[in-house]
């Protein structure tokens, strides 16, 4: 089975407050530590576990971004991906979600796939739209919020997180799955993996190689416009329930109102 994992490099969410360029309204990525998206690490772990479960499987990490995104791909290789590919072109700057999905889908077709594995959303833009768009452009089913994954023959079985529990889905390949955050514990890249990653070639594709034009991706092709940005509201302190003999009942009511119980 050929598994392609969509990989993204993001500013390190633990390195401090993310900065937005007020002119371009884009996240500042230069001069800040960039890392492999932690959500993608979870998706990659799911893909690696599936590949290691048996059979003749390859995992290809695919990123779209500037040259520096090769660092994220090297990390994916170090974790265990067999191959890596980068979609990079100056014309991709300013791509909206559809432009990103077009570029990724075109590259996935070139790489060849039976299963595409994505994170549910990225840890910078958080739009959560790209996996569904890529599935649509590839013409394959999109299984979202997946927490468990196994393969049998030419089909996968997946457990999907819903508001009320879990659905078990079975789906013929090819398909795309978006992995739920926190569902898998990413492995630490082993030293031998890091050393092997250094020796691996990373295939690159530009827009022309993917058969895409300026109208398909990048600023020129973008249909989304960011009109304004504002900082998220600070969370207010939670309610404190002091026990006057009724605390247990009040906590139970609180949880029941929110559908937890």
């Amino acid at each position: 089975m050929r598994i392609v994992v969509c990989v993204k490099q993001v500013p390190d969410p633990n390195a401090g407050v993310a900065r937005i360029d007020p002119g371009t309204k884009r996240l500042v990525r230069d001069g800040v530590p960039n890392i492999l998206d932690p959500g993608v690490e979870v998706a990659l772990e799911a893909a690696l576990q599936l590949a290691e479960a048996g059979g003749d499987n390859t995992v290809t990490a695919l990123a779209m971004g500037p040259e520096s995104a090769t660092e994220a791909l090297r990390r994916a290789l170090a974790m265990g991906a067999h191959e890596a590919a980068l979609v990079t072109d100056p014309g991709l700057a300013g791509s909206d979600t559809l432009g990103t999905a077009r570029a990724l889908a075109a590259a996935i077709k070139q790489v060849g796939f039976d299963l595409v594995v994505c994170a549910t959303e990225s840890t910078d833009g958080y739009s959560g739209m790209v996996p569904g768009m890529v599935a649509e452009l590839l013409g394959v089913p999109h299984l979202s919020f997946i927490r468990q994954l196994s393969a049998t023959g030419d089909a996968i079985t997946a457990q999907r997180v819903t508001a009320h529990g879990y659905q078990t889905l079975r789906c013929a390949l090819p398909a795309l799955v978006a992995i739920a955050s926190g569902s898998h514990e990413p492995r630490y890249p082993a030293l031998r993996g890091i050393m092997a990653a250094k020796r691996k070639q990373i295939a690159t594709y530009d827009l022309a190689a993917l058969g895409l034009g300026a109208a398909d991706a990048g600023e020129a092709g973008a249909r989304e416009r960011v009109l304004a940005l504002q900082p998220a509201e600070q969370r207010s302190a939670g309610a404190v329930i002091e026990d006057d003999g009724t605390a247990a009942a009040r906590i139970a009511d609180f949880l029941q109102q929110r559908g937890v119980l």
Binding site: R74, R75, A78, Y188, P189, A190, L191, R192, I194, M195
Partner: protein, 385 residues
């Protein structure tokens, strides 16, 4: 990583990636539990499989024996990050790599290398190193442990002291004098009749590391136990150079841990209406710690570059081990002062590192012994003999 002089700019992408993966491992798997393990005198043996999977045992030995084959700067960064967690953890991997795997690699037969190195690299076997005896660790040439030739094998008798990992080890590298008074090395499976390793249970340092004795009472081993590639004290001393190299890096990891704790504490602890970080005497202590860390890290990096270029001398290793451990210990004492009363509880990592570093300052060549090794080198006059 504490890096006031941008040493990271001297590192390759692979060295940075290796440092980062060990740092993540320490943050994720070691720091959450280390206080409890240290307090309870427990070694986190469950970590050995992950350490093996990561490739941290004997990481600078070749891939053909199941090791990671990284360069010596990367190896040093590994020791740095492990000791940022705890000196006991670094000792565990350091002993396995430098004092067990290295002698098998450097002095062992091909059959010994094939048999033991992949198992030790994966953490499926644990090793220990028996050189020091109770009558004086600084003078290994005076060892009393004997290896008597008996048929085609050997009979070992004697006792070793302060042996990291001995109570949990599967094999021991034992150094003993043969019938001609020549020091020889042996790979001794710890299940061999006549081998025992009682644990030392009264340490106030290295409490998350298992230390024991080795007692050899007519312990008979076959000819395959002998390390054929070396005879004389240069065998064990060659291993110690490898281990001391790692310690020169590792101690700085402990210094980072105590420094960052003290700096963060000073920023939030208020006296007389100001954070104590605003006080000149506190700033002086913090600056001394950062200065020592910066100088030590540049020294360690250059030592690694020399080792990779095969130009490192054991005297340079002595100077670096001597300096970097002592400044780490001094830094830990300064951090303890900054934390005041909180500095004596294991709620903060400072006293744990400080007490561990008392051991690190003593083992693998005491501070004084390294002074005399360097002194002999620069004056041509031996004060050890």
């Amino acid at each position: 990583m504490l890096d006031f002089f941008a040493v990271e700019s001297l590192l390759t992408p692979e060295q940075i990636a290796i440092r980062d993966t060990v740092r993540e491992f320490v943050d994720g798997e070691v720091l959450p539990g280390i206080r409890e393990w240290w307090d309870n005198y427990t070694f986190p043996l469950h970590l050995k499989n992950t350490i093996g999977e990561l490739g941290l045992f004997g990481a600078n030995l070749p891939e053909e024996y199941g090791c990671a084959g990284v360069d010596n700067v990367a190896y040093g960064l590994i020791q740095y990050e492990l000791e940022r967690g705890d000196s006991g953890l670094r000792s565990f991997t350091s002993v396995q790599g430098s004092l067990v795997m290295y002698p098998i690699y450097a002095y062992g037969s091909e059959a010994q290398k094939r048999r033991y190195l992949p198992e030790l690299a994966a953490g499926r076997l644990v090793g220990c190193f028996g050189l020091t005896e109770s009558d004086g660790g600084s003078d290994p040439g005076a060892m009393r442990t004997r290896a008597r030739k008996d048929g085609d094998g050997w009979v070992l008798n004697g006792a070793k002291m302060w042996i990291t990992n001995s109570p949990i080890a599967d094999i021991a590298i034992v150094w003993a004098k043969d019938d001609e008074n020549v020091v020889r090395g042996f790979i001794v499976p710890t299940g061999t009749p006549g081998f025992s390793a009682p644990e030392i249970t009264s340490k106030m340092s290295m409490r998350a590391s298992i230390t024991g004795e080795i007692v050899l009472a007519d312990c008979r081993v076959g000819p395959e136990a002998l390390l054929p590639g070396v005879a004389g004290l240069k065998g064990p001393l060659g291993c110690l150079t490898q281990a001391r190299y790692g310690i020169a890096w590792g101690a700085l990891g402990a210094l980072e841990a105590v420094y960052t704790t003290a700096r963060d504490y000073a920023a939030t602890r208020t006296t007389f209406g100001k954070p104590i970080a605003a006080r000149q005497l506190v700033q002086d202590k913090l600056v001394r710690m950062v200065t020592d860390h910066s100088l030590g890290l540049l020294l360690a990096h250059q030592l690694g570059a020399l080792k990779d270029a095969k130009r490192m001398t054991f005297t340079q290793v002595s100077l670096a081990k001597r300096n970097n451990v002592r400044v780490a210990l001094n830094g830990a004492r300064l951090a303890r002062e900054i934390l005041g009363g909180n500095g004596i509880t294991t709620e903060y990592p400072v006293i744990r590192h400080m007490l561990n570093l008392e051991t690190v300052d003593t083992y693998e060549g005491t501070h004084d012994i390294h002074t005399l090794i360097v002194g002999r080198d620069i004056t041509g006059e031996g004060a050890l003999e």
